[in-house]
């Protein structure tokens, strides 16, 4: 893979630094175990507010594991253990007094494989509101339109909101999942390789969407695709074998990597 070109970078549109909390999410000396298998090794990084942070690295290096820890989705797996801490807005997500449900309402998530519910498009979008007990028709209607517009899907589905979500194409389903994730206006949006199952046209639509969304949300995106990281992110973290190798502004990672491993990876010499 060729080195990314400067025109690929998104920093031109990035907001002026200092406007937002540069350490909105803090990963502090964080280690993580599946059983006895330690997959994250004493990670430490700060993720800034309302910017796109990309996690890159070869398969199995622990990108998804870290991402899923940010909203404690890993709790669902048996025999996991962690050391260190993660804070969001200064508060530990492992605080026993913190409702994990409330945490997840704050942090939306889009999965690698689109996973619409076996319900109508409409019901998929309003699911987060319904489980929160918000059932007012006008509010829901409004949220559906706003979320679907936010996910650039409104024009394509506005006439069949009450049809099954399974009637949508793969790319539309993934954008529906994004609409669903932003319906309740979370603060943070986690995306785990959201485009890996999509064709190039659908991918570029989602990437455009990420540009739009970052005005409102703090986005953390895991990706495999170097150009994508370069195109959409403001900061990039490179992981290798469960260790954070290098974390810097995206142009620096791609144009000017400090670590030889990073250099080797972004220039496509291994991966």
């Amino acid at each position: 893979m060729a080195l990314a070109r400067p025109s690929d970078f998104a920093h031109a549109s990035a907001p002026a630094p200092g406007t937002f909390n540069p350490a909105y999410i803090q990963v502090k000396n964080f280690s993580f175990y599946y059983g006895h298998n330690k997959v994250l090794h004493s990670l430490a990084l700060d993720i800034p507010e309302r910017q796109v942070t990309a996690f890159i690295g070869p398969s199995g290096c622990g990108k998804s594991t870290l991402l899923r820890n940010l909203n404690r989705m890993n709790d669902l797996i048996d025999g996991v253990r962690h050391e260190g801490d993660i804070t969001v807005g200064g508060r530990s997500i492992y605080d026993p007094l913190l409702e994990v449900i409330a945490l997840r309402k704050r942090i939306g998530m889009v999965f690698q494989k689109s996973n619409p519910f076996p319900k109508s498009i409409y019901e998929n979008v309003v699911y987060a509101l319904r489980v929160a007990g918000r059932n007012g028709k006008s509010e829901l209607d409004e949220v559906v339109e706003r979320s679907l517009r936010g996910a650039a899907l409104w024009d394509e589905v506005k006439d069949r909101l009450h049809e099954s979500a399974f009637g949508l194409s793969g790319g539309q389903q993934q954008r529906l999942c994004i609409a669903r994730a932003i319906a309740n206006r979370p603060e943070i949006l986690l995306m785990d390789e959201p485009c890996s199952a999509l064709d190039p046209i659908a991918t570029s639509k989602v990437e455009e969407l990420i540009h739009e969304l970052k005005k409102e949300f703090t986005i953390v995106i895991v990706t495999h695709n170097m150009q994508q990281a370069a195109r959409v992110s403001d900061r990039t973290a490179f992981f290798y074998l469960g260790k954070l190798i290098e974390y810097a502004a995206t142009p620096d990672i791609f144009m000017n990597p400090k670590n030889p491993q990073t250099e080797a990876y972004v220039s496509g010499r291994f991966g």
Binding site: E99, F111, N115, P118, Y127, A128, F166, N184
Partner: protein, 763 residues
């Protein structure tokens, strides 16, 4: 030799011959296996159908022989119990026996007393093979026919008859001619009734009765003598036409020429009018038909237009005595019935008029057979085994018929409709296949059994479905996998418990406990779920500091002790609740007692039985829970993890995820689980047989039992004579069961497919 299709393919791409062979063989094997299952199911259905179809056949009747009798007038036609030697009694008192099987032709026997006193009237009792003959001068005698099989020396057997008259008794007005006679012998009670027309004196028609007693000799019966005489004439308004004496010898039923029926009943040493009624108020005039069907409880009456009705004796609600009431309406006859004969084996009878005869069945009002002959019928009789019929025509020819009607009681209405059975105050769905007496009327309605099956299934599912489903949801969505691996095999062991063991436990262990502890059970079923909900509520509202003490998936460690405690408390508090709420006055002692078993019948009016639906529901629930649990747990576990994650990531709780996402997605599988559970409950036999009283009642009362189709087959099939009506009716029950499950399964499958396409999830 055919060219090997693989010969032009490079060797490395060729498929090994054995692979192809095994593949082909397995294909065929699976095909044959599948087909043979279909064939087997179909064959079972065909077999059951073959057992059932004969029930719905009409009677088959064919003429075997015709014998020319003397050109004379005949009073009665009769037949022996072997149906080989019918007789006709000439009005000059001569018996003519016609050998319709052998070659003996006609044999005659005249009775000297008839020649001497003149023939007045005769009455034939087919069961006793006895004829009562009244003379022209006010006397009567009983003539025993003495039918007897005689074994010829060279083998073979023939029937002979030897009519021997008993003593002559005086009855009624001395010397007055008897024009109608009836006689009944009920052992201790014997009653002879005659109509006399002292025409010479121009007097009116008179009705007289005598009761007879039999002095007990040292060996056998002694002499019969007249005990008491009754003049019944004043009791009958209008002109006496005909009368009947029921076999119980306690009454006389008189028909007048005006078409009125007077029911005279003997009370001590006199007769009283118990009932007077007109079966056909719209058509006055003498009745055409006026006879009993076998059992002498149902009266068949016909008017001059050919209408035919049945009147049965029954005790109406609130009435003190059994009276005749209109219970049957038979198919109308083309002409008024003048000839009548009833079977002495069942409730069938023949009505004839002119050249037409119909064979009717009283219970079902069904016409079994009918025919227009090329002769005019004057007399008829049905063979004692309901396998022969004899008609006498106006040209004095005796026609001997074979009657082939093995299942006269069967009809669609008998199985699925309400019938007005003898003695019952209203039409009912009833199942009672066998009874104590010969004249018992089988009640073959399958409706109470279908009802019982539904009732048993209902109570089993009411108990099993919530427990099994909630357990499946909890196990699949909340429980730690370590515990899950224990729970599932335990449930599977539970599924393999033989139902006879469960039935045994239900009948001998559970039923006696439940009987005395109903209030405890009431508390249990209300308090335990309530405390579970309350505890759940408290738990979700508890401080996170408390909740972090228990890791996710181990919450049951808190719940179980609490629920056990509540259960124990509920059980112990039962008697206190009983003393508080279920107090009644014991009708026998007048004391106030706290006993649910007495309280329930007094308050609801429905019975309380020890072996009741609660016990069955509980035990059958036990049989059904593992099935529903296992299948629905699988269905729930198979919901893709990605859907659960998606829901949880949106901030839904585990319950919300379970109910809003997992349950609908697994609904097709859960539906199958319910249907398979339902099928098991409908077909379940041993538990029901053992844990209920098997009473075929039709009420939803939870404290009474039931009889299900399956239990009915198990209970009655061993007793049912091969290919008899009951045997075939049981097969009909099996077919109903078969169709019921087939219907339910088909509907379920359609619904399941719909659910499946609706909640098809991404793989």
């Amino acid at each position: 030799m055919p060219k090997d299709p693989q010969s032009d393919i490079p060797a490395r791409f060729r498929v090994a011959k054995t692979t192809l062979l095994v593949d082909r063989f397995m294909n065929q094997f699976i095909k044959i296996g599948g087909l043979s299952i279909i064939v087997a199911v179909f064959a079972i259905f065909v077999f059951i159908l073959a057992q059932v179809i004969p029930l719905f056949r009409d009677a088959k009747v064919e003429e075997l022989k015709a014998v020319q009798l003397d050109a004379a007038e005949y009073a009665i036609l009769g037949i022996d119990e072997w149906s080989e030697l019918p007789f006709a009694l000439r009005t000059d008192g001569e018996f003519l026996f016609a050998d319709v099987i052998g070659e003996r032709g006609l044999t005659r026997k005249s009775l000297p007393f008839v020649t001497e006193h003149g023939f007045g009237a005769a009455h034939y009792n087919q069961l006793a093979q006895r004829v009562a003959i009244g003379t022209r001068n006010g006397k009567f005698a009983l003539v025993d026919l003495h039918y007897r099989p005689v074994h010829a020396p060279g083998g073979g057997r023939s029937i002979t008859a030897d009519p021997r008259p008993g003593p002559l008794y005086d009855i009624g007005r001395p010397g007055a001619p008897i024009t109608h006679i009836a006689y009944a012998d009920a052992g201790a009670r014997k009653l002879a009734v005659v109509k006399q027309e002292p025409a010479e004196n121009g007097g009116p028609v008179e009705l007289h009765a005598v009761s007879l007693t039999q002095r007990r000799g040292l060996v056998g019966g002694g002499q019969i003598s007249v005990d008491r005489s009754f003049d019944l004439t004043p009791l009958v308004p209008g002109t006496i036409d005909r009368f009947l004496v029921p076999a119980q010898a306690d009454a006389v039923v008189v028909a007048t020429t005006e078409g009125e029926i007077i029911y005279l009943f003997r009370q001590g040493d006199r007769f009283v009018v118990r009932q007077t009624f007109r079966p056909f108020p719209e058509s006055p005039g003498p009745l055409s038909t006026f006879n009993f069907v076998f059992g002498d409880v149902t009266l068949v009456v016909g008017d001059q237009a050919g209408s035919l009705k049945g009147y049965s004796l029954y005790l109406a609600p609130g009435a003190e005595q059994r009276l005749f009431g209109h219970t049957k309406t038979f198919p109308a006859q083309k002409a008024p019935g003048t000839v009548f004969a009833n079977s002495v084996r069942n409730k069938a009878f023949v009505v004839g008029s002119g050249s037409h005869a119909d064979l009717l069945f009283s219970t079902t009002e069904d016409r079994r057979w009918g025919k227009s002959f090329d002769f005019a019928v004057t007399h008829a009789v049905i063979g004692g085994k309901y396998d022969r019929m004899v008609f006498l025509d106006d040209k004095h020819v005796l026609h001997f018929y074979r009657l082939d009607d093995p299942h006269p009681e069967a009809s669609f209405r008998a199985f699925f409709g309400k019938l007005w059975y003898e003695g019952s105050p209203a039409p009912r769905f009833d199942w009672q296949s066998t009874g104590g007496s010969d004249d018992f009327e089988p009640k073959l309605s399958l409706v109470p059994l279908i009802f019982g099956s539904l009732k048993g299934t209902f109570y089993a599912l009411v108990f099993a479905v919530p427990i099994a489903l909630l357990a499946a949801i909890y196990t699949s969505q909340f429980l730690k996998p370590e515990i899950k691996t224990v729970v599932k095999p335990v449930m599977e062991i539970m599924a393999s418990l033989p139902s006879v063991v469960l039935g045994f436990l239900a009948a001998l262990w559970l039923a006696p406990i439940v009987e005395t502890r109903v209030p405890s059970i009431l508390l249990l079923v209300t308090l335990v779920p309530f405390s579970a909900f309350a505890l759940g509520y408290l738990w979700t509202h508890a401080s996170p500091r408390v909740r972090v003490l228990i890791p996710h998936g181990w919450e049951f460690l808190v719940f179980i002790p609490v629920l056990l405690g509540v259960g124990y408390a509920a059980w112990q508090m039962g008697p206190a609740l009983e003393r508080l709420l279920f107090v009644v006055t014991d009708p026998s002692t007048g004391a106030r007692v706290a006993d649910f078993r007495l309280w329930w019948p007094t308050v609801t009016g429905t019975p309380f039985e020890q072996r009741n639906s609660l016990v069955v529901g509980f035990m059958m629930g036990f049989a059904v829970i593992p099935i529903i649990f296992t299948i629905s747990e699988d269905a729930l576990s198979n919901v893709p993890q990605s859907l659960r994650s998606g829901s949880l990531a949106l901030g839904a709780s585990r319950w919300q995820t379970a109910f809003r996402i997992v349950l609908p997605t697994a609904s097709a599988g859960i539906f199958s689980a319910l249907m398979i559970g339902l099928g098991r409950a409908v077909g379940e036999t041993m538990i029901v047989v053992m844990a209920t009283g098997n009473t075929p009642i039709m009420e939803w009362n939870i404290f009474s039992g039931m009889r299900t189709l399956a239990a009915n087959i198990a209970v009655e099939l061993p007793e049912a004579p091969h290919h008899g009506t009951l045997y075939r009716t049981l097969f009909l029950g099996a077919m109903v069961l078969f169709l019921l499950t087939f219907l339910v399964n088909t509907l379920a499958e359609i619904l399941r497919q719909r659910l499946r396409s609706r909640f098809r999830s991404v793989e």
